[in-house]
Amino acid sequence: METLTKTQAIQGGEFLIRETEARDVFIPEEFSEEQRMMAQATQDFIDKEITPNIARMDSMEPGFMPALLDKAGALGLLGISVPEAYGGLGMSFNTSMLIADVIGSAGSFSTAYGAHTGIGTLPILYYGTEEQQQQYLPKLASGEWKACYCLTEPDAGSDANSGKTKAVLSEDGQYYKITGQKMWISNAGFADLFIVFARIENDKNLTAFIVEKSFGGITMNEEEKKMGIKGSSTRQVFFNDTPVPVENMLSSRGNGFKIAVNILNIGRIKLGAGVIGGCKETVTHSVRYANERRQFGVAISSFGAIKQKLATMATRIYATESACYRAGQDIEDRIQSLIDSGMPEAEAKLKGVEQFAIECAIMKVHASEVLDYCVDEGVQIYGGMGFSAEAPMERAYRDARISRIYEGTNEINRILLVGMTIKRAVKGEIDLMGPAMAVGKELTSIPDLNGKDTTGLLAKEKGVLKNLKKAILMVAGKAVQDFGAQLNDEQEILMSIADMMIEVYAAESALLRTEKLISMRGETDCQQQINMAKLYLYMAVDKIQAKGKEAIVSFAKGDEQKVMMMGLKRFTKFDAYNVKELRRSVADYLIEKNVYAF
């Protein structure tokens, strides 16, 4: 019987083995009038305060960035996630993602904003005591105080828990004295509050502290000379016997690394959302330029080679945006159900995100790579002007590059997301083993040629998607079987599996969004979305095939390899579309609208 209630809530990582119903995903077209108005107000803020002043921002005009943060604070943009009781707005997770999304087009400001509202504020929000929250959150939500986050050290980057910064308890037991060197600290130049990770004695794990600038003993190097986001303050910070009252310890001793990891989970999916605005802006600039620039007597937007780029950019953005808000809502739903079951709000928020840590890592990698793709093609569409600092693409290209590095490099995130999936399976939190065994059996059986009903709209695509998941289960299942815990040493294979998972998640999200949108608007009004969902699936199949092959030949031998290769072929079987026509259709729509219009 049809039921209108949500199907049983999906678990993190479960997308690999479960079919999701379109009605169960959230799509950006469902944002309310109020959320849209907030997004528009944020865009107005960028158009009014940042875009006309971008040179001032990127030349680091003294006081400019903190003043921007003040203005953002006055609009309420710094308190989106902070509960009303602490001077914020207490908005939903997906609303905070939407705001980060819009701010994504604001270059250096986007980093300053993320560092302040994300890694700077959230540790206190989620781990602070009542007193700490009362004391600091209202100041951070209003922008009166600016925050930064000091985890990375010269010798501790990806291996963050290896930091050497020390915290030594004073003789009277009143405070810790923190000593050490931190590096690459965003917002350091003007921060009033530092979240600092340090080690007490020879603890295995770090401890986190809330450090006020006024505690003293804090010095800094000059601003780093960077490739991009030049307007964002990035400095080395030195703590020299900085006295920090014991009550400023965040959470408990030795819990710092856990804080860092959990805050990074949120940071990752937020970064995913936080590049979307930049991606869309890149397409808008590109299509406008292509419509204006004439060569050989016509606008360059009339060339197939340019259309191909515009359509692929839009398609990848469409997919990453679909996936981001889908994951965001899954997280939000989980948070709500944990709160409903009696868990305190802050804890529920952390747990909700933690359970979708796989999706958070997927979004970080996918979105940051879509952004890099877009700015790269953006430069290309601008031709020589793309290389000129006079036009917007040059800065966009430089600014984009950091996204693949911070919040955990994309390599670390790829390794993590596969590792977490396997861990969840081993713990029995998601049943990968059953479906993986079934795929193993299917490999040695005769293919079912009767086929399923593929006549419905997007039914064929959903069938393809189902098979793609089997391809992943086949490769990952065999790799786990062969290597066991040693799989960790086979990073190349992990990278391939990660890519396959990422592509499936993105392709599925684009399909589900399209299906839901059709149910809302009807098929005729969703033609381009249908085209993009198909195009994305086409690209995903290609990539999954290539990555699957790379993984298989890296470890399977002899007959086993043959069987797996045949399996891969079967699971990636796809009656290709005329992608040229699909792309042209998407591109023509963009060209007519003269803006990213989805």
């Binding site: 009038e33 109020e34 108005m37 907030m38 107000a41 107005d44 803020f45 009014k48 006055a74 609009l75 309420g76 943009l77 308190g79 989106i80 707005l89 908005m91 004439r294 609208k593 003269n594 803006v595």
Partner: protein
């Protein structure tokens, strides 16, 4: 101090304009709507005046239910309540009649609106409302300050400014730099929904104009650049191609 701000619901300035029904109707398909930019200045000044000297700001729009998001944006910016006269704003006179009725009914001290809307750019409504109510009406106003029941106003005139002093009640068509346009803050957006938005029917259906058809300007043709040493070619082109010499 009771201030009424009349706002229009107009296509975003980057919208592509097209027509349907044999060029007799504007094609609103896919068009994004905003508060008229001049009205935005009027609203910003109204909110400032309220902050300085108290009182209330009421928004008014003549339009269908699709304009309500625009009204709610105005509420988010700082107006206290909104009125929507449920009717198509067919022409300036029709709209002026509706506004006049609302002003009379609510006895407002100050009626602010944009110098003109940016869709049809008529710029007539403030004058008509003034006539209908026998109140002074000034436009385009670039500066407006209140001292008791006196308004000190600066108006743009050809090549300069005119400074006026008027007794309230007063109608003003506003333009920049009367105030800096305001971005609604997040809290304002969250509270906008709780503010009253009253819908009332039109008081008359009298119009004075009817539209025969619309025409788009001819598409811009390309530009030919001449270097300083190409004077002869330039003159040539002006004579033979542009045929304006």
């Amino acid at each position: 101090m009771k201030i009424l701000v009349c706002i229009t619901h107009v296509p975003d300035t980057t919208s592509k304009i097209s027509f349907t029904d044999n060029n007799t109707k504007f094609n609103s398909n896919g068009v994004q709507y905003i508060i008229g930019p001049y009205d935005d200045y009027a609203l910003a000044r109204a909110v400032e005046l309220k902050e300085q000297s108290g009182g209330s700001v009421t928004l008014l729009n003549v339009g269908g239910s699709e304009t309500e998001p625009t009204l709610r944006k105005g509420l988010a910016i700082g107006a206290d309540e909104a009125i929507r006269v449920n009717a198509e704003p067919t022409d300036a006179f029709f709209v002026a009649k509706q506004i006049a009725a609302v002003v009379k009914e609510g006895s407002y001290d100050l009626v602010l609106m944009g110098r003109e809307s940016i869709d049809y750019n008529g710029g007539q409504v403030h004058g008509m409302v003034g006539e209908l109510l026998n109140m002074p009406s000034v436009s385009p106003v670039m500066q407006l300050d209140l001292e008791g029941d006196t308004a000190k106003v600066a108006r743009e005139i050809e090549g300069g400014k005119e400074y006026l002093e008027l007794k309230l009640p007063l109608i003003a068509g506003c333009q920049e730099p009367i105030a800096e346009w305001k971005i609604p803050n997040m809290r304002g957006i969250m509270t906008a929904r709780q503010k009253p938005l009253k819908v009332q029917e039109a008081v008359s259906d009298e119009t004075m104009t009817s539209t025969l058809r619309y025409e788009l300007p001819p598409p811009k043709s390309g530009v030919t650049l001449f270097q300083p040493d190409q004077i002869k070619e330039l003159v040539d082109a002006l004579k033979n191609e542009a045929k304006i010499l």
